[in-house]
Amino acid sequence: MKTMIKLQKKYLKTDKRPYDFRQRSCPLSGKNAPRVDYKNLKLLKKFTSERGKILPRRITSVSTKKQKELSKAIKRARFLALLPYINK
């Protein structure tokens, strides 16, 4: 009987979670994370779409705090014509 329950639990676990829905960690937080700055264009380009739009947090899994910094940095870079407002 005990083994049965154990088995069931195991089964449930794998059945209910076919994909891993656990939160991925923010790529800009942590110890060795790169600095968010309007001068670091390589980094900013990773967080913009091909059209030049800022990618939403749900895609990049950036934390709220860092997303705020990021959007400010991107907007600064745009004003200085380092990044485009739109990429046609």
């Binding site: 700055d37 670091n40 264009l41 745009r78 200085l80």
Partner: protein
């Protein structure tokens, strides 16, 4: 006294020599007001991401300045009167945001 970052773009017809002269002018201005320039960089003759006043390229100049707020305001007004400069930004930065190493704009070769 506080730290400020200044970036400005010089028109495409202007020669790099003249652009550097403008940089020197700003240097002198800040010094005359009792501030000091901590860092000065020439980012080169770069392509603009979009046209500004019919310019497709521009000389980028970058400064980190330690001075008073009133001096920066005056500097901003001076820059506005300079016709060779098509765009400028002055940003207040925190002490910990200042690094002695050159910025990514110079160290990364293909930072475009």
């Amino acid at each position: 006294m506080a730290l400020y970052e200044l970036v400005f773009i010089v028109r495409q017809e202007v020669s790099p020599v003249r652009a550097k002269e403008l940089a020197k002018k700003i240097n002198d201005f800040v010094k005359s007001k009792g501030g000091d320039v901590k860092k000065e960089e020439y980012w080169g003759f770069r392509n603009l991401a979009y046209e500004i006043k019919k310019n497709k390229k521009g000389h980028y100049l970058f400064f980190v300045i330690n001075s008073s707020a009133s001096c920066m305001l005056e500097l901003s007004n001076q820059i506005k009167l300079t016709e060779e400069i098509i765009r400028h930004v002055i940003m207040r930065i925190k002490e910990k945001q200042y690094f002695k190493e050159p910025t990514e704009m110079i160290t990364d070769e293909n930072n475009d």
